[in-house]
Amino acid sequence: MAEKSPAADVEAGLLAHLNSAGEVPDSRSFASSLGVSHLELVGVIKSLSAFRIVESKDIIKEAWVLTEEAKGYVAKGSPEAQLVAAIPPEGVSKDALKAKLGDAFDVGMKAAARNKWIGFEKGNKDLVLRKVESVMDELQEQLRRLENGEAVPDKVIDDLKRRKLIMKEKSIWHSLKKGPEFVLKRKTLATDVTTEHLRSGDWKDLEFKDYNYGAQGQPIAKGYVQPLMEVREAIENIFIMMGFTEMPTNNFVESSFWNFDALFQPQQHPARDSHDTFFLKAPATTQQLPEDYLEKVKLVHQSGGYGSKGYVYDWKRDEAEKNLLRTHTTAVSTRMLYKLAQEKPFAPKRYYSIDRVFRNEAVDRTHLAEFHQIEGLICDYGLTLGDLIGVLEDFFSSLGMSKLRFKPAYNPYTEPSMEIFSYHDGLKKWVEVGNSGMFRPEMLLPMGLPEGVNVIAWGLSLERPTMILYGIDNIRDLFGPKVDFNLIKSNPLCRLGL
């Protein structure tokens, strides 16, 4: 056990007294009866009152207290008494008395003369004689009584006040009763568990002080993950669970050929406008294109083939060589499918990617010049639109979107093309969540993929579902240098797929 503190003794004394006497009318006198300062007792009273072990009532009194000078008189006697005591029977010279009494001499001389306690030899005003055998030191007595809080006549008070021996002072003390939670001995409440508690076995008797659960703790230095990256990881896991392999998308610079032409996107298509696409000054053009394949792509645009009329226009190599920042990750999918077509025999694939794409668009609450595209595709013989719908339902239900609807749409490289809508319970409406379709034969056959092989694919942005998920309505609050660190710190776990 820890040593008992003096406060513990005071507390024990107080509680014992209250237990037997039932009350303490005056904390001040109780303190002196215990032999402790009143201040010390007040500390204990406050602690006990807080737990309603005692009930304390304030007593406020204005009382006369002694000045420092007066306190000296209580100890050594009044100046006049001191003076008389200092006079030997044969008398003494004023100078000798002054030397002995110091400051008290002048006051003492006057008062002693008034009281007729002293006299002077005739003809020699310098020799002070004692005229009484002993003196009754009334001032000392009055001061002592005042100090003890005893009653003193008003006349005396006035006199002491005039002599600047007393001052008025406000003092607070307490009357005490047993409180509703009164106990003779209260338990000491522990605030923490220490190694010592565990070692000694004290923990068995520990009773804990209440925590303030609402109080803010000191923040700890920890790391944080960007919310968008958390969602990306969750979606990645969904793809991998569904047997999809990630495509290498770390090539932001792409040629128009792989970004557009190979996808059977005609050269006059509005997406190829400088208003929509970032073209490059350096490196302005691509240096290498697969010539055999390029020739097939050119023909299918220019005059068709593979069962198609084609777009029938003058296809220009210059257009295809223009470099750009890829506008969609489908440029990578196209490279991957071309590569797959060169591998014999054909083997089915499921591919996915989540990476950045770039649009030369004005930035606003819902648009950024760069954002992340999620893309999934399956390539195999005999895939159907029904397969696409089935896969989309699997994929989107993992994202918490189980009610889907499909709307016909147009996209130059998919046919059929379907916009994907999901019913949003919070918004109580159908919201567009992505695009999907089957790649056109004009795109797949020039690559050399076998006849009968279909590709079903879908795409969506990473930002939009994340914004819906976290209730963020400005895309710049989620992605880019203006994101508030506090958002990153306070963002909840991504629960997709849980």
Partner: protein, 579 residues
């Protein structure tokens, strides 16, 4: 996707019935168009003039439906075509059959093309609509359709420009010429060419100066009955689509409905071609080929009906016992290029939402790109080290990527954007340093210390790649506090101080060690780069001397340029070199 505005009441009148808004929306969804907005003429004017909505609902005010249509369906760009397509889709009527009227040889209108046109705008196609009955709404629709075509397929008149004229004010034959500007009374704006295209009638009346100006003389009015349409172009296929769209839409109001009078275009080399070509494109496909990829099975008769609903005249037959469908694609459906397009129309008519769900059967094994998996591991390592991940853009201003970092552009590294919309998008980042400093600036009031990091790609010019540039995966971390983050080790004899970021670096160096990734005893080599304080910077090298990263205390000038008041240390590492 283009949006077409049509009066609701006129649309419903053309559809022969009314719909509630919900019913109409559902119909649009099925057909693959979208009711984008419902508004009124007055609301549109208010919006244009930026006036407050006074909330007054005027019963007389016509309700306007704004309908979004597919970008390749030019036949849906006006009320006439939209209503027709929906009527056929709902089975209210059959597909129209368009005809070119038979004109006795000799009385056919001619357009003579002069050789100079080949230098600037080589193609022209023409047609005539006879006995057109305009009212105000029809007239407006006629003008609007030209506008929509110009905005979409015509690519702002660059590919095709339409001129429509009151034929009764003109005298054929016409001529399509290209003349030096001083020989023409008008000079069109924004063209820089020795010759300009112009169309004359036989009285040398200027019909138009393609692609911008149509003459006032022959302008059509509400009273116009006979319309001469010419489309000049740089792309003949598109010129035909545009002409066909104009005549198939508005021959509906001709004296003989859906009949168009041809015009003979006489080429300077003597070739003669009669336009418009309203013939149907014939396709013959096996039933299996168009049903298989949808994943439904139907007999040939069941397929004919949905094709007809999409204005595609279909008939079933069989070849060697295999059921086949022959389809006539009308001139309105220029979007049909391949059997795959028929398949889509069948699927739409069948209803995407009625297609039975199935699962792809192929067995594949999922997996990740090693670089991305590796990046994620490093990312986790740094986050465990107490850093906060940020995600920034790759596009920057030239100044941010170079000058603000005290770096010079030697033109050998950065990818430069040719057409940036604003200065924010001038270059692709070559380091993550600006990214983190910029992000810090936007959070400058955040309590210190601030520890942020990013794992992302920079792009460098790279002549070994087909496109001439390649990505490089980087890790960057930044520490900002009132003091620079030096950790002093008083008990060490020599002055050994370490930057805060050094700890994360040491930890990365420790975890990435592999048989092929070696670091010697001293992998820090002092450097003298302008973005850092002198003697407070170094590079990180592997045991074979290859630099894989660098770090230092950011130079005061750099901090000032980014508006950062407190010391920062910064480290950047090439993750691909550590993979």
């Amino acid at each position: 996707m283009p949006t077409v505005s049509v009066g609701r009441d006129r649309l419903f009148a053309a559809l022969g019935r009314t719909y509630t808004q919900e019913e109409f929306k559902a119909l649009c969804f099925e057909f693959g168009i979208e009711l984008d907005d419902v508004t009124t003429e007055k609301a549109i004017i208010r919006k244009e003039k930026h006036l407050e909505d006074d909330g007054e609902v005027d019963d007389d005010d016509e309700v306007i439906y704004k309908i979004e249509v597919a970008a390749n369906r030019y036949d849906l760009l006006c009320l006439e075509g939209l209503a027709r397509a929906l009527r056929v889709f709902t089975g209210t009527e059959g597909s129209p059959v368009f005809q070119v009227s038979s004109i006795p040889r000799g009385s056919i209108l001619q357009m003579h093309v002069k050789p100079e046109t080949s230098k600037i705008r080589p193609y022209v196609v023409c047609a005539v609509l006879r006995g057109v009955a305009f009212d105000e709404a029809r007239y407006n629709s006629f003008i609007d359709l030209q506008d929509k075509l110009h905005q979409n397929i015509c690519r702002k008149r660059t590919l095709v420009a339409i001129g429509t004229h009151d034929l009764d004010t003109l005298q054929g034959p016409f001529s399509y010429e290209a003349l030096p500007p001083h020989e023409i009374n008008f000079v069109p704006l924004k063209q820089n060419s020795p010759v300009y295209p112009v169309i004359y009638d036989s009285n040398r009346t200027v019909l138009s100066l393609p692609p911008i100006i149509n003459g006032a003389h022959s302008a059509i009015t509400l009273a116009t009955r006979n319309i001469f349409i010419e489309c000049t172009a740089t792309d003949l296929t598109k010129a035909n689509i545009v002409l066909n769209t104009m005549v198939t839409m508005f021959s509906e109001y001709c004296e003989t409905k859906f009949e168009v009078e041809p015009v003979e275009v006489v080429h300077y080399d003597g070739r003669k071609t009669v336009y418009p070509d309203l013939s149907c494109y014939k396709m013959d496909v096996s039933l299996y080929d168009i049903l298989g990829p949808i994943g439904i099975s139907q007999d040939e008769k069941q397929v004919v009906c949905p094709l007809n609903k999409m204005q595609l005249q279909a008939e079933s037959h069989s070849l060697k016992g295999e059921p086949r469908i022959s389809v006539s694609v009308p001139p309105t459906r220029s979007d049909i290029l391949h059997a795959r397009d028929l398949l889509e129309d069948i699927a739409i008519a069948y209803g995407f939402n009625n297609v039975p769900k199935s699962k792809p059967k192929c067995m594949t094994i999922g997996g990740r790109q090693p670089l991305n998996r590796f990046s994620d591991k490093i990312h986790a390592e740094v986050a465990r080290g107490g850093y906060m991940e940020v995600l920034t853009f790759i596009l920057f201003s030239h100044e941010e990527n170079f000058d603000m970092l005290n770096r010079a552009d030697d033109k050998s590294k950065a990818v430069i954007i040719a057409n940036p919309r604003t200065s924010e998008f001038e270059v692709v980042r070559t380091s993550l340093m600006s990214c983190l400093l910029k992000t810090l600036k936007h959070n400058i009031d955040h309590p210190r210390p601030i520890k942020i990091f990013e794992v992302g790609d920079v792009v460098m010019l790279d002549s070994s790649r087909d496109v001439g540039a390649s990505n490089n995966r980087r890790l960057a971390a930044l520490y900002c506090n009132m003091v620079s983050g030096f950790e002093a080790y008083a008990n060490l004899i020599k002055l050994s101080r370490k930057l805060w970021d050094w700890w994360i670096l040491d930890s990365i160096v420790k975890v990435v060690r592999a048989p092929h990734v070696n670091f010697g005893e001293n992998y820090y080599v002092p450097t003298d780069e302008p973005e850092f304080f002198p003697k407070r910077q170094c590079k990180i090298v592997t045991s074979d001397g290859k630099q894989v990263g660098y770090l230092g205390i950011v130079h005061a000038e750099v901090l000032r340029k980014f508006g950062i008041p407190d010391p920062c240390t910064f480290v950047e590492m090439d993750l691909e070199a550590l993979l």
